[in-house]
């Protein structure tokens, strides 16, 4: 029966084979499409941007209507706001995740919180910008000024509010990755610790968190690379069109530190204004590409850091942890 069937030349089967080959080709093409897009974008940016990048470009302030000079204030601003953002977001995000995984009983409230976190991740970033301006500057800032009688210190756009707005934006990333990291710690380790007479907090501090720190750090770096490229949330909350001096204050007149109450320049916003607000967009074109290249490299290295960190902790998990 079967051998008889095999002997008959089967036209239908041939048609199916052709059809299959066509589909395969289409799927192949679709799979490589994103790669092509990436190569094209990166290629164009690197090609047009690499020529601008010099030591001066990386270390000096823009001059002559931003058509010349460097982008150092933007790099400095991006780094400092990212640092401030993670300082705000990490404790809140990790704390929230610890509460949800370790303390809260699975129920309506945890579901509500989780839904809120997921929805937070889906909000367009410009909405965060408007929220940041409305809530942090006009509400919190103004009232702080009134209560503390500080004139107009808190009620204006500055790095603190921009960082706080970005922190809310990246909070879901931190919460979700921390939750995953905590859930990955075997329940048996918690039982063992509790059975030895550890309290819940001691168990979390000494057994759970050390094992979860790889995942938490990875989440933090992903949050950084997500936040570092954002323009919309800081648009209304603190970044400056042009501010050649660095947002630095001398603590007690001696120790220099980032001034969170100052405005700042930022890479992605700088690209935006050079492209749309500059008096001579054509002349700034090479600088735009250069700035983009710097921003992309920055995010790339942050992501690379996250990947290396994750693989490092995956490897060391369950192996040597020397003191």
């Amino acid at each position: 029966m079967t051998t008889a069937l095999l002997a008959i030349p089967n036209l239908q089967a041939r048609r199916i084979n052709v059809l299959e080959a066509v589909f395969m080709a289409i799927l192949h093409f679709l799979a490589y499409l994103p790669v092509c897009a990436l190569v094209l974008i990166l290629g164009k940016i690197v090609h047009s941007g690499i020529g601008v990048i010099t030591w001066e470009f990386l270390t000096q302030a823009p001059v002559e209507g931003m058509t010349k000079g460097g982008i150092f204030p933007c790099i400095f601003g991006t780094l400092s706001i990212t640092l401030l953002m993670i300082l705000i977001a990490l404790p809140i995000g990790v704390g929230a995740a610890i509460y949800m995984v370790e303390y809260a009983k699975e129920g309506v409230w945890v579901r509500v919180i989780r839904a809120a976190v997921n929805n937070l991740a889906g909000i367009p970033s410009v909405v965060f910008g408007l929220f940041g301006m409305g809530f942090f500057i006009l509400f919190v800032g103004h009232h702080l000024d009134e209560v503390l009688r500080t004139g107009l210190l808190f009620g204006k756009p500055c790095m603190l509010w921009a960082a706080a707005t970005l922190a809310i934006l990246v909070l879901p990333v931190i919460i979700v990755s921390t939750e995953e990291a905590l859930n990955a710690v075997p329940q048996s380790h918690r039982s063992a610790s509790m059975a030895l007479g550890a309290t819940k907090w001691q168990t979390i501090r000494d057994v759970v968190l050390p094992q979860a720190k790889g995942g938490i750090l990875t989440g933090a770096i992903l949050a950084i690379s997500r936040g570092a490229g954002e323009t919309a949330p800081i648009l209304f909350t603190g970044c400056a069109y042009f501010l050649p001096r660095l947002p630095i204050v001398k603590l007690f007149g001696i120790i220099p530190m980032i001034n969170p109450m100052d405005q700042f320049m930022e890479l992605s916003y700088h690209i935006f204004i050079m492209a749309t607000q500059s008096t001579n967009a054509q002349k700034t074109m090479p600088i735009q590409f250069g700035t983009t290249l710097v921003l992309i490299s920055l995010t790339f290295f942050l992501n690379l850091g996250a990947i290396l960190l994750r693989s490092h902790y995956r490897k060391s998990l369950g192996q040597v942890t020397l003191q």
């Binding site: 030895l196 550890a198 001691q202 942890t321």
Partner: protein, 274 residues
Amino acid sequence: MNRPETTEKNLKTEHKSGVEMDEALVKIKTRALSVYYGATQALKQVDMDIKKQAVTALIGPSGCGKSTFLRVFNRMNDMIPDTRLEGKATIDGIDIYSPNINVVTLRRLVGMVFQKSNPFPKTIFDNVAYGPKLNGVTNRSQLEEIVERSLIQAAIWDEVKDRLHRSAMELSGGQQQRVCIARALAVSPEILLMDEPASALDPISTAKIEELIHDLKKEYTIVIVTHNMQQAARVSDYTGFFLLGELIEFDKTERIFEVPKDKRTEDYITGRFG
């Protein structure tokens, strides 16, 4: 499980009479102890006297409540939501479910070894020193002393003394389990609860653990849950047989295995069901 009322009464008087023990020798005592998980009753009115410095084995088919019973004594059942307990459980005459009992202190008195070895992904030293550190021991030489003593007691010192600062995860399953026993011993408990401590181990490691249990009973009161009849017969002085949350029979181990009073006990130990 429909039995005439009279049989149940007879059974109860019988298994009580089976273990007449001197009140002074009783470490743990339960009276009419029932445990509920939500609406399901996991333990039904269990009365048992557990003797000091002896090994008491709890046997019975899966889901019979023996692990639940074990976890009553260090209140690990508290961690499971919707758990409710009725009746009385005492250690040295003190009600461990009374509101003024500190669970943390109780758990330092009642150590536990789990079915699957669960060392922390830390060094062997840090695993064993974990409990003492919780108790506030910070002195390095004191910690070293405790770690060495515990590892010797757990019969693993010779195998690990040169690699105390390597990860406990590199050890074999049997070695890991003995490190876990050392970790439990390091807080100097009086009672050691063992929940099928050898069920995941090969025969040689199992033999080592059993030998260890035999040595440990000189100092500790040991309660062990096991699926393995031979193991219960080998290591224990007393045996309790559980079925569907009920303590069917409790007696000296040799009597349980040689002259069981209840038909169901006999059926179980001879392997007719389980």
